[in-house]
Amino acid sequence: MKKYLIVFMFFLSAFSYANNLAIKSIEDKESPMCWAVADAAESSCCGLVGCDFALWERVYLACNRQS
C-alpha cells in the first residue's frame, strides 16, 4: 500500500512540475515575443523601430490575441 502511495505521489508531483513549467513557458513567451513581433513589423513597414507607434501597438495587440 505504501508503495502505491509513493508511486502516486511521485506521478502527482511530476505532473504538477510539468504543468508549472508549461504555464511559466507561456508567461515568459507571450508578452516579450509579441513585443519583438511588433518591433519587427514596425521595422519592416517603415524602416526602423519607433517610426509608427499606431502600427506597433496594433500588431502587439493582435499578436497577444492570437497567443
Binding site: A40, G47, A62
Partner: protein, 238 residues
C-alpha cells in the same frame, strides 16, 4: 430657450455645407519584402505573416475624405467591413496600415486634428495643417488628374513619405492628415503601401461633416512623447 440650446448643441457637432466633394481612396500596393522566406527568423516570419494578412484586408477597405473649400473630414469607411472582418485579430493592423482615427482639417485656422484610440485612451491630437513640404517638378496622371510630387522635409527619416497632389482641385486637404499643399492630395506612398484616389464624387446635396470633439486634447509633440514613454515603460500593459 430650449430650441436655442438645441441649435447650439447641433452646431457644435455638425457643419452643414453645400457643394461637398467625397473622395474615396484605396490601398493598392504591397511590397515584396513581406514575403516569408527561410532567411527570416521566427519573429520576423510571425510579423510578416500578420502584415500580409492585414494588407489583404486593408486592400478591401475604403478611406473616405469629405471636403469643401474650408475643411475636410476623413476616416476609414467601416460600413463595408463585415463582422467577420472586424473579428479578425489583424483587422486593427489593417486599419493602422491605412491610418487610424478620424481626421479633421481646417484651412482658416491651420489645424489638423485626429481623434484616435491609443494606449487605452481616446485622444484628440492637434497639429498644424500646413507642414514643411518640398515640392518637386515630377508630374504624373492619377485618376485623371495632373499631380505633382511633394515630400515632407525630414532630415532623419529613413523612409520618407511621398505625396502626389493636384492643383486641379485647389484645396489644402488630403487623407490621413496629409495636407497643406496647393491642391488635394491624390496619392500617398507611405512606407510599404500606396493609398490612392479611386473615385471622386461632387454633390450639391448638403453633407453633414461630423467634427470629432471627444477625447483628451493634446498636441502632436506631446502625444509622440507619451508614445515614446509608453514604449519604454509600459511593457505588457497595452
Amino acid at each position: 430657450m430650449r430650441k436655442i440650446i438645441l441649435f447650439v448643441f447641433i452646431g457644435m457637432y455638425f457643419h452643414c455645407m453645400s457643394q461637398t466633394n467625397i473622395a474615396v481612396y484605396n490601398v493598392v500596393e504591397i511590397k515584396e519584402k513581406f514575403n516569408i522566406s527561410d532567411t527570416l527568423n521566427d519573429t520576423q516570419k510571425e510579423a510578416n505573416k500578420l502584415l500580409l494578412k492585414a494588407f489583404d484586408l486593408a486592400k478591401s477597405m475604403n478611406y473616405t475624405l469629405t471636403f469643401n473649400d474650408k475643411e475636410s473630414i476623413g476616416s476609414i469607411d467601416k460600413t463595408m467591413a463585415t463582422d467577420e472582418d472586424k473579428g479578425h485579430s489583424y483587422f486593427g493592423i489593417a486599419e493602422a496600415l491605412i491610418g487610424i482615427g478620424q481626421y479633421h482639417q481646417v484651412k482658416s485656422n491651420d489645424i489638423s486634428l485626429v481623434q484616435k484610440e491609443s494606449m487605452g485612451e481616446l485622444f484628440l491630437i492637434e497639429s498644424s495643417l500646413f507642414k514643411d513640404w518640398e515640392i518637386f517638378q515630377d508630374q504624373r496622371q492619377i485618376a485623371g488628374y495632373t499631380c505633382f510630387l511633394a515630400k515632407l522635409k525630414c532630415e532623419d527619416c529613413k523612409n520618407q513619405v511621398e505625396v502626389w497632389f493636384t492643383p486641379d482641385i485647389p484645396v489644402p486637404f488630403g487623407p490621413v492628415g496629409y495636407g497643406g499643399l496647393p491642391g488635394l492630395v491624390i496619392e500617398i506612398k507611405k512606407y510599404s503601401s500606396v493609398l490612392t484616389l479611386s473615385t471622386m464624387e461632387l454633390t450639391n446635396e448638403p453633407v453633414e461633416i461630423k467634427i470629432p470633439i471627444k477625447g483628451i486634447k493634446i498636441s502632436e509633440d506631446r502625444y509622440n512623447e507619451l508614445t515614446k514613454k509608453a514604449r519604454e515603460t509600459g511593457k505588457g500593459k497595452f
